[in-house]
Amino acid sequence: MGRNIETSSYWLMAGVSTTGVSHEKAGVECQDAWACSQSVEPTGSVVMAAACVSDGAGSVCKAFTGAKLTAWAVSVWLLEHFPSALEMPRDWIRQSCLSMVRRSIRRAAKRAGYPPDEYAATFVAVCAGSDGKWLALHLGDGGIIGRFGNEILVVSQPEKGEFANESWFATSSDALEHIRVYGSSFDRGLSDPTGFVLFSDGVEDSLLDRRKGTVAKAASVMLDWFRDHSPDKVSTALEENLGTIFCERSHDDCTIVLMAKPNERPEPGKNPPEGGVQSIPVHAGLSED
C-alpha cells in the first residue's frame, strides 16, 4: 500500500498531433497544438501535471499560431492557479483563464499586425495533482475522458453550435459563457483520477459515442500503455495509431494527449522532471511568429 501511495505521485504524459488528409491535400499546416507541463516541488513529494489541446479555427490565417498560444497560455494558467483555483467560483476561473489566453493572443496579434480574431482556437485542458485533486477546462469542440479507479467516463463532451461546423473559440465574443469548468471540488466531486485523455475534434467520433455518451475501449487501452512503456514509446505508438486507424475515420487534424498515473514507480529515465516548474511543449515550439 505504502509503495502505491508513494509512487502514485507521478504523472506520465504523451501527446501527438497529425495533419489531416484534407489539410495535407490543400498544403495547409496542422492547425492543432498541444502543450504539457509538469511541476515538482523541491521535496519531490508533490507533482502536478497540466496538459492542453487546442484547435485553431479553419478559416483564420493564424490558426496554428493561435492554437499554440492558447495551449501554452492555458497550461501555464493551470500551473499557476492549481490547486487554489478549486476554491474559487467557476466564473472567476473562466474569467481569469480566458483573460490570460486573450492577453497572449493580443500581444502576438499586435506584433504580427493581425486582428486577434485571426488567432481563434478552442481548448481542452486538465491539471491534476498528486493528492487526487484535478481541474479541467473546456471551450468548444474536442473532449476529455477521465479514468477514476476502474471507471472510465466522459469528463467533457464537445460543444458545437446548431450546425456541425460551428463552435466557440477563445476569441469569440461569448466565449466566457461557453467555458466549462470541472474538477474535484465541483459537481460530482470525483477525485483520485488515474488517467485523462484529451483530444481535438478530429478524434471525437472515434473516441466518443455522441448519442450514448459512452467512451471507446481505445481510451483505456491507450492509458494502459504507460504500465509497461515509457512516455517516448507511448508517443511513438500514438503517432502510429493516429496516422493509421484514426485518420481512416477523419480527414481532420488529430491530436491526443494522454496523462496517466502509473501504479508502479517509473523506471529511471521515466521520471518527471524535478526542481521547480518545467514546461514541455513537445509538439510545437512556442514562437509567436
Binding site: 479553419g58 468548444g140 456541425a164 461546423n165 459515442d209 455522441r210 471507446a216 495509431n241
Partner: protein, 227 residues
C-alpha cells in the same frame, strides 16, 4: 514500429453517424417547363444523384428532397440517405406557378428533417434551398415565403440558391429570397452543369469543420450561369 500490443484495433474505436447536409430542390414544373426544359431537368437530377452516389462522402452525408410546384406544391422525393433512393421521380410539367407554396413546403420539410436529426442525435450542417423557376409566380404566396427564407438566411440557418431558367424567369422575384446570393440565370437548359457544380459544393460543406467559412466555387459558377 511499436509493439503489436500498442496497435489499436478497429473494434477499439467507435463509429458515429456522418454529419448530414440536407438539400431541398424546389423546382418549377409549371406548364412553361413542358418539353425540352422538363426533360433536361430530369436528366440533370438523374446525373446529380449518380455523381453523388459515386462519391463516398456525399453518399454518407448528403440528403436530397425534391419539392415541385405548379398548381400545388408537392414533395416528390423526401429526405433520405442517397443509397435508399431506389427510383427517382420523373417530373412532368403542367399548370400554374405557385412558387411560394413550393418554397413553404420545402422549408417545412427542411425544418422537419432538422428535428429528426436532433432527435436521432445526428449532427448536421446548414441546410440548402435550391429554388428554380422559369417564369413568374401566379399566386402571392411568394411574398410571405420569401420573408421566411430571408429570415432563416439572416440568422445563418439556411443557404438559399435562387436560379432562373430561360429568358422569362422573374429575376426580381427570385432576388427576394436571398440577400446573400443574387439569383443566377442558367445557361440555356444546362441543368447538368449546374448539378455537376452542386455536388462538389455540398462535399465542401460536408468537409467543413468548426470555424470554417464554406466558400462556394465561384469560378465553377461561370460554367453554368450567365454572368
Amino acid at each position: 514500429m511499436t509493439e503489436e500490443i500498442m496497435q489499436l484495433r478497429k473494434e477499439d474505436l467507435l463509429l458515429n453517424p456522418t454529419s448530414r447536409v440536407a438539400v431541398a430542390l424546389c423546382l418549377d414544373v409549371s406548364g412553361s417547363m413542358t418539353g425540352e426544359p422538363i426533360a433536361e431537368l430530369n436528366e440533370g437530377i438523374s446525373a446529380f444523384f449518380d455523381a453523388a452516389r459515386a462519391d463516398q462522402l456525399a453518399r454518407a452525408s448528403a440528403e436530397v428532397a425534391i419539392v415541385t410546384f405548379s398548381d400545388m406544391p408537392e414533395t416528390r422525393l423526401d429526405f433520405q440517405n442517397l443509397d435508399r433512393v431506389e427510383r427517382l421521380p420523373t417530373l412532368t410539367a403542367g399548370g400554374s406557378t405557385d412558387l411560394g407554396g413550393g418554397v413553404n413546403t420545402a422549408l417545412d420539410r427542411l425544418e422537419a428533417r432538422k428535428n429528426e436529426y436532433k432527435q436521432a442525435g445526428i449532427d448536421y450542417f446548414q441546410p440548402w434551398l435550391v429554388l428554380m423557376t422559369d417564369g413568374q409566380p401566379t399566386t402571392q404566396s411568394h411574398v410571405l415565403a420569401s420573408r421566411k427564407a430571408l429570415d432563416l438566411e439572416r440568422r445563418g440557418k439556411l443557404v438559399v440558391m435562387p436560379i432562373g431558367i430561360g429568358p422569362f424567369a422573374d429575376m426580381h422575384v427570385l432576388s427576394t429570397f436571398s440577400k446573400q446570393r443574387q439569383p443566377l440565370r442558367l445557361q440555356g437548359l444546362d441543368f447538368q452543369k449546374f448539378f455537376a457544380w452542386l455536388q462538389p459544393s455540398l462535399d465542401a460543406v460536408s468537409k467543413s469543420r468548426p470555424g470554417d467559412k464554406v466558400q462556394l466555387d465561384l469560378e465553377g459558377i461561370k460554367g453554368w450561369a450567365e454572368i
